[in-house]
């Protein structure tokens, strides 16, 4: 059975890779993202939104949550955080790998590091479920551990998760292979073209609505995996996101 295989994945050479996780006021899954980096074998570094210091990290994760309560628009206020300037500068050229999860994805679109935007789910409710996804692009900094076209199950949990963009942008994303994750088994929130995650033109910046950091540890993940049968809460399909970036940076 899959699910008890965590330990086997860890590769000690990865521990030198430093992955920063930014905490904004209202971030919720920041400690979870740090744990995911650690379980994947890397070193997690806590970053503070108000600092101007990226602490020499090799990659950055903008975690989920409700930064500033998401009252205005999800991610709208956070994008102006001092640390976002550093991140934007380093990410734009294609060098710094940046992953935005859920609220982090929203921050990246607000900061124009990724196109499109998120609006309320079409059913208007918060939705928490184990979501099946297709990995459409395995050449990004965050997906190289997966085979192209492979399927994974990771938790989805949000209120403003409906990805929207104009047709031209959508066509462009599709044409350039920049749709990274697509919902399978029914569209959970009305996202255009079932898009769950996208990347920029360099493949270093990736944003997705579902939460891979909640499918990295057997016993605390989803009840299912696209890779085979699992124990109760044994799904660890999200771990590949974190090993991807660690491996890429180690081999650099």
């Amino acid at each position: 059975m899959i699910g008890h295989s965590n330990a086997a994945v860890v590769d000690s050479s990865l521990s030198g890779v430093r992955v920063g996780v930014v905490t904004f006021p209202g971030s919720l899954d920041d400690r979870d993202a740090l744990r995911a980096v650690r379980l994947a074998g890397g070193t997690g570094v806590a970053l503070w939104h108000g600092d101007h210091d990226l602490k020499d990290v090799d990659a950055v994760i903008i975690p989920g949550g409700f930064s500033y309560g998401d009252y205005l628009r999800a991610g709208a206020i956070s994008r102006f955080a001092p640390l976002m300037e550093q991140i934007t500068a380093a990410a734009t050229g294609g060098s710094l790998p940046v992953l935005g999860i859920c609220n982090g994805f929203q921050v990246l679109t607000e900061a124009h590091l990724l196109p499109g935007s998120m609006v309320k789910n079409n059913h208007l409710h918060f939705l928490c479920k184990d979501q099946r996804l297709k990995v459409e692009n395995s050449s990004t900094a965050w997906t190289s551990s997966y085979a192209e076209g492979s399927e994974i199950v990771v938790p989805l949990k949000n209120q403003d998760g409906q990805f929207v963009a104009d047709e031209r942008t959508l066509d462009e994303l599709e044409g350039e292979g920049r749709v990274v994750f697509r919902y399978l088994g029914g569209n959970p929130n009305g996202s255009r073209r079932d898009i769950a995650g996208i990347t920029n033109e360099h493949g270093n910046v990736v944003g997705l609505m579902p939460h891979p950091e909640h499918a990295v540890e057997a016993g605390f993940g989803p009840d299912s995996s696209a890779l085979g049968e699992v124990e109760v809460r044994g799904g660890v399909d999200g771990l590949g996101i974190f090993t991807s970036v660690l491996q890429k940076l180690v081999n650099k």
């Binding site: 209202g26 409700f66 928490c128």
Partner: protein, 602 residues
């Protein structure tokens, strides 16, 4: 001084003024005090109270804050506890929440509370602020909140008002809890027409802490400073106190005070992180959350649990609504506020943490050795009381109770239908009833993953959360109640509620350790309701003793009735269990083919 403060000062009812105008009529009845209670206040003070004192006594002596009708019965939870049951109790009944030792230097604090009436008036905000309030209780013990649960009761599923309540309450609980990053690990949903005009919204929160981090609500150390931080104080929740709008009592100026409180989960999330940083840096001596009765409660409880007195300047309170009078400021129930006691040496460190999290604060005064709680308004004394008389010496009632006459009839009325011929159809019908069918449509609106430690949640009978990542040490929680059983037999109903929650925790694989409860009943002034209450408490206390688990805290919610009709007695019981390693938890239900099925018990 602003002109606003000036004009308020002009009208202010000072202690001196109270001494000079003993005959001044006061609106004590409008504030909910009974005549004997008012006379008792006069006796304690040796004069008439000032408007501000009246405000404090009236809220602190309300049923909600003083437990005046339930106290005599609740004592059994303490009386029936044995030394063995107390072995793992670090903090027992009486504090904001009980604290249980779970080993390896870890402790857990948990409590369930009601927000029934506000949720009927404004379902979303009522439920949201219910979650907010119980979470602040947990923070104030020094703990990081790690999960919430929500036992709910609604009226009939097909009643036209039910959708408003169900959707509002569920989104309110989700909206607030999800935004705080607290996994929702369980709860209940029951539909029954007795709850039509009186839904029950109980919210449970659980937090974890190291033994050395336990904080208590007391103000000690002469010269230590008292600080209020978090949200600004507005006119929230003091609609009924609008009689205090003009504290010279000579004007009928209408007061526009919102009876409804709006929650700000973002402010609370920041408050959680900021409090945890305060605890880690050891910069607070005592801390108290502000809930019902606001500053009245926080100052009088902190002062009376400490060893001296307290001196407070009320104009220092940061206001959202500058027109508030001193009495209203004392009664305001604005959410997302905390009060702390800080040594002078630690003030700079305290302020640095507030600034980091962008939390507003104001220094209100200091701890004294006078034994008095003195509150001033721009230097004029408006409150001068012994804080114990406000916080602890409220009235206690031995309300009459009697077994309802209708009970025998109800108990005799057994079900006499024929055994259904088509068992399959009967099972299907049963399973499709609103109380039996899947609750996914609710639980899917709650985040059960956040924090990454949830080992079991929906659809399992108990929620399980890991506490220590190194060892797997963790806890299980379940809440249960059955109002129908309790209606038929309140003594056994309470015992069954405990037994069910206890079983749910035990079958998950945890060792049951402690109990919290939320006792939802009708009016204590009705002797039959009072009997249901007395029987339920007796049943719960007896059952706790039999099972060897102590009640560590909880909440009493009375007056749950519409017109003359009370809800079914609904004692919601929460049981906490401990795992040495959550990897050993057992989910409910069968997952694989070929497993053998056994039926255990009688």
């Amino acid at each position: 001084m602003t002109t606003e403060t000036m004009s308020k000062k002009f009208n202010i009812d000072t202690v001196e003024h109270a001494e000079q105008t003993p005959e001044q009529p006061l609106p004590w009845a409008e504030l909910g005090l009974k005549e004997n209670e008012y006379l008792r206040v006069v006796e304690i003070l040796g004069r008439r109270p000032t408007a501000a004192e009246l405000a404090m006594y009236s809220v602190m002596w309300s049923e909600h804050c003083s437990y005046k009708s339930s106290k005599v019965h609740l004592r059994q939870f303490g009386d029936k506890v044995t030394e063995a049951m107390k072995e793992h109790l670090l903090v027992g009944i009486g504090e904001n929440a009980g604290v249980v030792d779970i080993g390896d230097g870890w402790a857990v604090t948990f409590k369930v509370e009601s927000h029934n009436h506000p949720s009927f008036v404004e379902p979303y905000q009522g439920a949201a602020t219910g979650v907010g309030g119980i979470v602040r209780d947990i923070i104030s013990m020094g703990a990081r909140p790690v999960a919430v649960m929500d036992p709910l009761r609604f009226g009939a599923i097909d009643h036209p008002d039910t959708p408003r309540l169900v959707h509002g309450i569920v989104s309110g609980i989700g909206g607030y809890g999800n935004s705080l990053g607290l996994p929702n690990i369980g709860g209940e949903v029951v539909f029954d027409s007795v709850y039509q005009g009186n839904p029950l919204v109980n919210a449970l929160a659980v937090g974890v802490l190291r033994h050395e981090d336990i904080r208590l609500a007391n103000a000690s150390g002469v010269g230590n400073r008292v600080v209020l931080f978090g949200a600004r104080t507005g006119g929230d929740g003091i609609g009924g106190a609008s009689v205090l709008a003009s504290e010279s009592f000579d004007s009928s100026k209408p007061s526009k005070r919102p009876a409804v409180q709006v929650g700000d989960p973002f402010a609370e999330k920041v408050l959680i992180e900021c409090c945890l940083e305060l605890f880690k840096a050891s910069v607070v001596e005592g801390i108290q959350d502000l809930g019902a009765a606001g500053i009245s409660c926080a100052t009088s409880e902190l002062a009376s649990n400490g060893d001296g007195g307290m001196h407070v300047e009320l104009t220092s309170v940061l206001l959202r609504d500058p027109s508030l009078t001193p009495g209203e400021i004392l009664m305001s129930e604005s959410q997302e506020r905390m009060m702390a006691v800080v040594t002078p040496e630690n003030t700079a460190a305290f302020e640095a943490i507030m600034d980091k999290w962008n939390v507003e604060y104001s220094w209100l005064g200091e701890v004294t050795d006078t034994g008095r709680l003195i509150i001033e308004w721009a230097g004029e004394k408006i409150v001068d009381v012994d804080p114990r008389t406000v916080a602890h010496d409220g009235p206690v009632y031995e309300r009459p109770y009697s077994r309802p006459e209708w009970l025998d009839g109800v108990q005799a009325d057994s079900f006499a239908g024929d055994r259904p011929s088509d068992l399959k159809a009967a099972v299907l019908e049963l399973m499709a009833s609103p109380n039996m069918c899947s609750k996914d449509w609710i639980t899917n609106q709650y985040d059960r993953y956040v924090q990454g430690n949830t080992a079991l949640a929906m659809p399992d009978d108990a929620g399980v959360v890991r506490v220590d990542e190194e060892t797997g040490l963790g806890i299980a929680l379940s809440t249960d109640a059955n109002g129908r059983y309790s209606y038929l037999n309140p003594y056994d109903g309470a015992r069954l509620a405990l037994a069910e929650a206890y079983r749910n925790v035990a079958t998950s694989g945890a060792k049951p350790m402690a109990v919290t409860d939320c006792l939802n009943f009708g009016s204590p002034e009705d002797p039959e309701v009072m009997w249901q209450f007395a029987e339920s408490v007796r049943g719960l206390a007896d059952a706790c003793q039999e099972l060897g688990v102590p009640v560590t805290g909880g909440n009493v919610s009375l007056y749950n009735q519409t017109g003359g009709v009370a809800i079914h007695p609904t004692p919601v019981v929460g049981v906490l269990g401990v795992f040495d390693d959550v990897a050993r938890r057992t989910p409910s239900g069968w997952r694989e083919d070929g497993q053998a099925i056994y039926l255990l018990g009688t």
